[in-house]
Each structure stands twice: as structure tokens, then as C-alpha cells.
């Protein structure tokens, strides 16, 4: 039998977990707690950008314009300043991110039927914020133009574009971020469970004792992964409860399918942890290697930045990251209600990586003491 001694290893691992209840509680609670903290903290919808106004016109129209800008929700007026120089100083200090300069001849130009130039100065050091500020300001101008064109019965619209958000009608960033965040956190905590396991045995000398028994490499690999999958499953339940009940992100797809793909992902990230454990010679090395794997999982998996825009080379690399597939699956299943066959293109590679990793670990373990 390939997994000779599997029962023995599982028995030992479960006893060890039982002897250390504090670690078990931490492992179970940390993911849910982190999800709550980061879920609240990360919000890509930018609102209430501190904005100052230089109102040189000081008329009812100019005040109306300022009011409309604030009504978009994107800007929050932090005060009025007397001139352009003072506005720039506020931007440099970081007290304001946007300054709106309304010209003194605003009303006159409107009466003349000319467009009124309104300067919007945007702090470009935060690219994301700058983009959203620009979009909101330009959008307001276009909407105003359109409203007037329709009211005056003038030019008809060239296209009547009517965008509608599917699956996430409010465009809530929680629906985008929280499922991905759940995947990342689960990977982090479970990987650590196994990343240290073989190194620790090596440092304590028990690895050698294990090696003189007839227990096979595959048995050690699976014997350490399976109990950790149980812990990971517990973590998942807590994380999913937090996602649904705290962040109001309902699970649109099948719960059964979610359970199966989560088990698959847990298995894969635990196998990755085991691989680290067989490479590292000390626990410190295991820690550093975990970091090495973790950052790409966060930054390149599509969790934060869209993978489509990544340069060639890096884009291909993202296919080697298990979190890439799991995040695709979670977003598909939780947000879009995708079915098993629809997600198969992500499920199969994830299973392939898991299988490959566990075989590599089993073989490496065989050679490990050599």
C-alpha cells in the first residue's frame, strides 16, 4: 500500500492538535477576525474626497455647481479658499486632494452660450483616487450638458448608453473583495499549519525516528494534510458565516459545490505548505519561504489587481498560483451563482496543482534525510 502508516500519522497529528488547544482556537478564529477587519478596511469605492473650492464667481450658479459636485458623494468640501495659490498649498500639505476653481465670469459665459471652464486640480499621487475624482467631475459636466440638451429639445443623443451591473446591482465593492479576501486568508492560515510541520520534526529529531519506521512518504504527507484540512474546514465555515452575515454577501451558487472546491483548495494550499516544509531546513527558513509564496498570492492572483492587465510573463505566472483559481471560483460561485460545469476551467487546474504538489512532497520526503 502506498500510504502505509497513514492511520498512525493521522492518529499522532490529531493527538498533537488536542494537546495544544490554544493553537487550535487561534487557527480557527484568526481567519474570521481578519476577514472582518480587512473586509471593513478595504473599500475601493472612493467617497468623500476632501475638496476645496476657489469660488471666484460667488453667484447662485456657482454655489449650485459646488452643491452638485458634493451631491455625487465623491467629493466632500473641506472649505473654501481665497485663491489658486492657497488651494495648491492645501493640496501639497495633503489636507485636500482636489481643488475646484470656478471662474469669476461663470454666469456671463453661460449667458453668452459659451462653455464655462471649471478647473479641477487633482492630487495624482494616488492614481486610483485621481481616476475616480476625474470620472466623477467629468461625468457631472456631461450629465449637465445632456440634461440641458434634452430640456431645450436641441440635438438628440448619439447613443443612449444604458449600463447595468449584473450580479452586483449596487456595484458594492464588498461583493468583489470579500470572497477573494476569504480565499486569501484561508490560504494564509492553512499554509502555515503545514509549512512548519516537517521542519519542526526535523529540528526536534522526531523526523529521523519516523524515517526508520516503515511509514511511507505519502502517508506522512497525507497524514499531516488531512487533519489540517479538518481545521481549514472549520475556518472556512466561520469565514463564510462572516461573509454572509456581516458583509451581506449572499452565496448565489450551490453550497455543496462551494464545500467541495474549498476542500480542494485547502488540500492544495496545505500541500504547498508541506512543500515549503520539505525545502526549509529551519523554522526561520520556513517562515521566509511562506512569505515568498504569500505575496504573489495576494498581489498576482487577481485578488487586488486585474490579471488581464499584467505584463506577459507575469500573466503566465499567475496560472501557477492556486489562489488565482480559487478566487475566480469564489467570485463566480458566490457572486454570479455559476455552476460546476461553468467553473470547471478553474476547478481542474486547481485539482491538478494539488495532485502535483502532493506527489512532489511525497517523493521529496522519501529522499529527505539523504
Amino acid at each position: 500500500m502506498l500510504a502505509r502508516g497513514l492511520g498512525a500519522v493521522v492518529y499522532k497529528e490529531l493527538r498533537q492538535v488536542r494537546r495544544d488547544p490554544a493553537t487550535l482556537v487561534l487557527a480557527l478564529l484568526i481567519p474570521a477576525v481578519q476577514l472582518m477587519i480587512f473586509g471593513y478596511a478595504i473599500d475601493t469605492e472612493i467617497r468623500d474626497i476632501p475638496t476645496v473650492v476657489v469660488d471666484q464667481a460667488r453667484t447662485q450658479t456657482s454655489r449650485e455647481l459646488a452643491r452638485r459636485l458634493e451631491a455625487t458623494g465623491t467629493f466632500r468640501f473641506a472649505g473654501e479658499v481665497s485663491g489658486r495659490d492657497e488651494a495648491l498649498e492645501q493640496l501639497r500639505r495633503g489636507d485636500a486632494r482636489v481643488a475646484v476653481v470656478i471662474p469669476h465670469d461663470l454666469d456671463q459665459r453661460r449667458l453668452d452660450g459659451q462653455p464655462a471652464p471649471v478647473q479641477v486640480l487633482i492630487d495624482g499621487s494616488d492614481a486610483n483616487l485621481a481616476q475616480q475624482a476625474q470620472a466623477a467631475a467629468v461625468g457631472l459636466g456631461l450629465a449637465e450638458t445632456r440634461r440641458r440638451a434634452v430640456a431645450s429639445g436641441g440635438l438628440p443623443l448619439a447613443y443612449d448608453i444604458r449600463p447595468r451591473y449584473l450580479y452586483n446591482p449596487d456595484g458594492s465593492s464588498d461583493r468583489f473583495f470579500v470572497p477573494g479576501l476569504a480565499g486569501i486568508i484561508l490560504q494564509l492560515v492553512t499554509m502555515v499549519l503545514t509549512a512548519f510541520s516537517i521542519v519542526r520534526e526535523r529540528e526536534r529529531g522526531t523526523l529521523e525516528q519516523l524515517m526508520v519506521t516503515p511509514v511511507s512518504g505519502l502517508a506522512v504527507t497525507l497524514g499531516k494534510i488531512l487533519p489540517a484540512v479538518l481545521i481549514g474546514a472549520g475556518e472556512t465555515v466561520l469565514v463564510m458565516l462572516a461573509m454572509v452575515h456581516v458583509f451581506d454577501v449572499p452565496i448565489a451558487g450551490s453550497l455543496t459545490l462551494l464545500a467541495w472546491v474549498t476542500l480542494l483548495f485547502l488540500f492544495t494550499s496545505l500541500a504547498l505548505g508541506m512543500l515549503i516544509s520539505t525545502i526549509a531546513r529551519t523554522q526561520l527558513q520556513a517562515m521566509l519561504l511562506t512569505m515568498l509564496v504569500l505575496l504573489p498570492s495576494v498581489l498576482l492572483s487577481g485578488f487586488m489587481f486585474p490579471r488581464a492587465t499584467m505584463p506577459p510573463g507575469i500573466h503566465e505566472l499567475t496560472y501557477a498560483i492556486p489562489a488565482t483559481y480559487f478566487i475566480e471560483i469564489l467570485r463566480g460561485l458566490v457572486v454570479r451563482g455559476a455552476s460546476g460545469p461553468e467553473l470547471m476551467q478553474h476547478i481542474l487546474p486547481l485539482a491538478g496543482i494539488g495532485l502535483f504538489l502532493s506527489l512532489v512532497v511525497a517523493i521529496r520526503f522519501r529522499k529527505y534525510t539523504e
Binding site: R19, Q209, T369
Partner: protein
Amino acid sequence: MTTPAIHASGLTRRFGRFVAVDHVDLEVGRASIFGLLGPNGAGKSTLIRMLCGLLRPTEGSAEVLGMDVVGDRDAIRRRIGYVSQQFSLYGELTAMENLTFFGKAYGLGGANLRRRRDEVVETVGIREHLGKRAATLSGGWKQRLALASALLHEPDLLFLDEPTAGIDPVARRALWNLLFELSAAGKTLFVTTHYMDEAERCDHVAYIYASKILVSGRPAALKGLPEVVPAGSVRAELRTDHLTEVFQALQGVPGVREATIFGASVHVFLEPGTSIESVVDALPTALREGLETRSITPSLEDVFVTLTREADDAR
């Protein structure tokens, strides 16, 4: 059962350019206690780890219980037990749980596991400590537990790598009594040690120094080796109240090949043709007062000290 328990020829292990074990030939008879002695870093653990199938030999071959250490290492594992140098059981598990784990690891289960567990508990006498976590046991009990774990699957051959290092003298004696019982029951024991008194109790000893086996044989036979006791040479013990002064004075006396302090006396090893009387006469008068001499047979330590010196001179 005519094959020896262990047969090695030209067994060599290199780590990069360092040769840890250098062309070792070895033969260990069945049901004997074989002692491997040597200073730290001489290659004892590397040799044991090759014989256990934990390390692949770079060169040479070895058979354990008639099986090849490379090709049959899985089969060998079922028939040998290994008690390592450091405590290598699971400290957070109880003694009982450790036994259960190793029993299962060797494929025991159900009634069979319970029976064997009871038997080894009885053998090493650890019953009253079964419920304690292994980490909390004293050094002596830890070693007994390790021995019990290594005995569960009824191995024919036991490797013990410095089993008595760092445990108290009473526990040390108790452990050796256990080893004698096991040997009497037909098991072969391969033991490494630093202690000369333990070496004296082995059926057969080998001395490894700087990766090479310098000598191997029965303790009594080693003491009569011509390198150790050349014809006409004398080994004597000098009892004196001026231990260090006598020791220092002896360094300059012609015909004294070795002088070593042994407890409250000095052991001397004289060149052939030199008499103990002439050596005493060469000492300053003040030191001769109350000096008693008697000739002695070499101890194993004398054997190893002499061989080590010769090996160093040859290099």
C-alpha cells in the same frame, strides 16, 4: 541463521569533500552486544545511520540481517529498532500515546497492538509513567520509553546511538541490565558509547577514529594486541600523594612512552627493556616518598589511547 547480523565492507560516506566514514569493514554476530566507540565526530552516527537505511552509502556495501542496506531498506526497517542519540519521541504525547503511535507505524493494530504494548511496558518497567507526557519524563525514563518504542515490532537487531549519554548512573546501570536481558533473549544490539565501563561489557567492540575503524575484537583480545602490549613492554600504576608533580616529572623520563592520570594514580606505559624501578629512580627524591607501584594489564581506555596516538603519529 548463519548470516551475521551486520556485514559491511568498504562502507564509505562522504559529505562533499569530507569523508565521514572511510572504508569501514564490520562484522557483527547474532545475539551479541556490539559496542562502537570513538570520540565525537569520528563517524559513529553516520555509520549507524547508513546501517539503518537513513543515509545512502557513497561507496561500499553493507548487509543487515542478510539484506542490502540500499536495495532492501524497506524490508530492513521492519526488522530493526533504532534508539537515537537525542530524545526523538513526541514530547507532547503521553508515553502510552507514543507507544500506540509507533505500534501503528509498524503496522500493529487491535489486540496485537495492545498485547505488544503490554509486553514492552513490562520489559522496560514503565507502567506507572504511561499517562505522563513524554517531555516531562526524566532522561532515564525517556530512554526506556524510546527503547520500548523501538521494541514494539519485535526487531531482531537494535541500534542504540549513545543511549546513556546524559542520564544518571543509576538509570545508566538499569538500562544496561535491560540490554543484557534483550541480548540473552536473542536480540543483537549495536551500541555506541563514550563510556569505557560500558565498552567492557560488550561482547565485541570496535574503535572508530577519524572516520576509520582502528581496531575491532573482543575486549580481552584487544588488551593483548601487540600494538598495545609489545613484547617486553610494561604497563604500571603509580600511586602517589603528589599526583600532578609525578605526572609532570614522568614526561621527561627516558623509556616512558605514555603517562596518563587515572583517578588518584598515574598509569605509565614503558618502552620494551625499561623497568619500572629505573623509572622510579629517575624521579626526584621528594616525589619517591610514599610512592607505590604495581604492574597492570591495560584497560580498554589504554588500548584506545595507544591506538589513537599511533594513528595520529602515522598521519
